[in-house]
Assembly symmetry: C2
Homo-oligomer: 261 residues x 2
């Protein structure tokens, strides 16, 4: 890929970084990343998200276990949890007597809905990727930890999360080491981007899409998989961490659908 | 804000753009944006998302009505819908006889779960914000249209969406006009970012948080609101578009929770 401009170059060269240089991130640099992050687009300028900056080493260690046992989390210089957050507005509506307002205007007061949760997740994720790219521009790499959606009860207690918040993603960050990992290949654009209509892939197209990846498949694998599809199912979708994430997200969603926590 | 580097400068200056310059986006530039977008971080390198590039003018016009009646959508040079997409992997698992693999290994085959949907939404939103910043670096502005989550049935038919996809966000893009809008103020960092623990705001803190915004509140407003909180509820959370989004998302979620579409 030829060089285009600095922002595009850093997007194209970015990797998920799990080994960081032995170098602290100063308060000034952290504040720069956070300032830029808060400039991220947000639905109706409502900022339906919050960020927890995890500094406490004990909490980092709990996270390294609760998020699918990934010890590098505890070693990261910067750990940021991104929450979908409707609590702040819910409390402000209460303070503003919105229920009375609804009654006086013949409307039913609508508490947080699944759509508010999705908007909050959107805001949180858009902010997270803004943080990633602001950090990259300062030579700081990052790794997303989607596993923060697992073990909701543990995280709720550890961070004292109120009911209308949900930890949707986490970023661990640190300076790039001298040996920078190489970006991994992505699927071809023609299979991800379509014009005007969704294109459901045919079997032949699926084989072509996965051709490069399935070449790396090893028949003598620990998952007893016979092909790459089975291997990926065993390693990802059907793995224990996925079952835990499914349980945790399902439980949390039920709360937004009316069940008590 | 002092200048730091080009990426941070464009993050800090970015606005939601709804009026575009009268200038087309060339295929080459569009492909550059899409190429960078596909470099976005993605869970397990699975790319659980798809993008529909809406070129057809009729479809843009339908979207301008179905997404809360915003005519500028139909005038945007570039319209990209970001879908959470588990369909591709689901089909590949089928092609790879994953159900047999599960049976032979004494496991239950797990179809797409709510967690897969959340991971797909995460991938899609992280890709979208990567597109936004790649575009900004090429002097192309954008506006998020979260309203694409409304009217799920209409969009499903219009774009022939298969069942394991969900349109979680849309971007409309075009070159900045000569008069660039000014970025809007955000909430103070101290109320969005906390250290080690979530901080539920007190009433006094909420008043302080909203002080600047509530100063702009006009008592003689069309929503009969008595204060800024009531006004925002009437204009956003309690508005018709929110009720439609709540309905649409609820219906879609029920499908991922086992109901037939």
């Amino acid at each position: 890929m030829k060089k285009v401009n600095k922002t595009i170059d850093l997007i194209e060269q970015r990797v998920s970084l799990r080994k960081f240089a032995d170098r602290k991130i100063s308060c000034q640099v952290k504040n720069q990343i956070l300032h830029s992050t808060l400039r991220a687009p947000t639905a109706g300028n409502m900022m339906l998200y919050s960020i927890i900056d995890v500094v406490d080493q004990h909490k980092k260690e709990v996270l390294s276990r609760s998020c699918d046992n990934q010890p590098f989390i505890a070693k990261a210089p910067l750990v940021l949890i991104f929450l979908a957050d409707f609590q702040r507005w819910y409390d402000y509506y209460k303070l503003s007597d919105v229920k009375d307002y609804c009654k006086q205007n013949g409307k039913e007061f609508i508490g947080p809905t699944e759509a508010d949760l999705m908007l909050g997740c959107s805001d949180a994720l858009i902010a997270a990727q803004t943080a990633v790219l602001a950090a990259e521009s300062l030579e700081i790499g990052s790794c997303y930890i989607g596993d923060i959606m697992e073990n909701y009860e543990t995280h709720r207690e550890l961070f004292e999360l109120p009911e209308w918040t949900f930890p949707v993603t986490m970023l661990v960050m640190g300076y790039y080491p001298d040996n920078r990992p190489t970006p991994r290949p992505r699927f071809n654009q023609e299979y991800i981007v379509t014009k005007d209509i969704y294109h459901k892939l045919t079997d032949a197209e699926l084989q072509d899409l996965f051709a490069e990846r399935s070449q790396r498949f090893k028949p003598d694998n620990s998952l007893a998989a016979q092909n790459f599809g089975q291997f990926m199912y065993g390693r990802k979708t059907g793995a224990d961490f996925s079952a835990e994430m499914a349980r945790s997200v399902k439980k949390f969603l039920k709360h937004w659908q009316g069940e008590k926590l």
